[in-house]
Symmetry: C2
Subunit: 202 residues, 2 copies
Amino acid sequence: MNRPIRRPGGRSADVRRRVLDAVVTQLVDHGYDGLSIDTVAASCGVHRTTVYRRWRDVGGLLADVLAEAAGDDWRPADTGTLDGDLAALNREVFAALTGDPPITTALIAASFRSARAAEALRAFWADRYDRCAVIVARAAGRSEIPAGTDARRLLVAATAPLYHELVLLRTGPDEGLADRAAADTAVAARAGAFVTGVVSPG
Amino acid sequence: MNRPIRRPGGRSADVRRRVLDAVVTQLVDHGYDGLSIDTVAASCGVHRTTVYRRWRDVGGLLADVLAEAAGDDWRPADTGTLDGDLAALNREVFAALTGDPPITTALIAASFRSARAAEALRAFWADRYDRCAVIVARAAGRSEIPAGTDARRLLVAATAPLYHELVLLRTGPDEGLADRAAADTAVAARAGAFVTGVVSPG
């Protein structure tokens, strides 16, 4: 067993970068079944003991891929209208779900194999929806939509049709999908859907 | 190699029933990795040659589970209002996605492993959404919603938040989720969302 010397931060960050890039490449190219400490270590030239000590197993590697993705400074676009903000958000989701290489769909597929990946993906999305709450606050501030509109409920309504169509129903990518779901949700919000504690009029 | 004698219809249907029940049990109890022609044959007492000849592989078994499920005479409830019809539908989806044993979520997970299962699940859902189009036609007939409302777009808006929250985001089951998503979608439809070819007012 090697007894690795402690590395300075830059070297450690570089190792993490190489390992996580290798995880994504292996996952996209060979699927979850092609992922292992050994294949990742071999493909990025980092000693398997280093990978094992820091990430332990495939679940740890996948969780760190998502933790790193969550560590960015992404913020939703501020276009000046609810329609515009939701359309911009949905176009980003659409691009992620139809991207090549299909990193996002590969991570979603992996979340059905690894409880740690599932938990990391849940945390990633929770943080993304939290960051998007400002879209709803801005729209309420402009009186586009009623005060008391539930941000997460609105944001899930806008984005869920994309995940449903592209990931579960596996319909072919339809260019208008992102904008339609955004516009439909904006109509709903202006009409008073998504308001907490209010039962809609029948 | 056995040369099986051709069985009458009743016996053949009985074999199919036993095999498909065993597929579902194996899938729920042991996951996709626990599924094989051998484990299924052994668990239901049907000769493995019979299973192999009729279903060929795990993909064929899963596709037939979904084909059999699609062969029922299910129709959406007719409650007299769009809100009621969507709430009834969403409660059925919610029950399926939170059911114990978790058959639906196990089939969704399997669809990420097997292209045949993915295609069968896609066909199953396409048929279900087709059957539900009558909900939208009835609402338009009662002038609850505009003529030209796109049935699939409305139905996906109503149901997608349930799949997103329960299957992908893996939030805990929230009793109000089904009714809220139904009511939000009915508000949207009455306000003119989901109308084909119309860009919503900004």
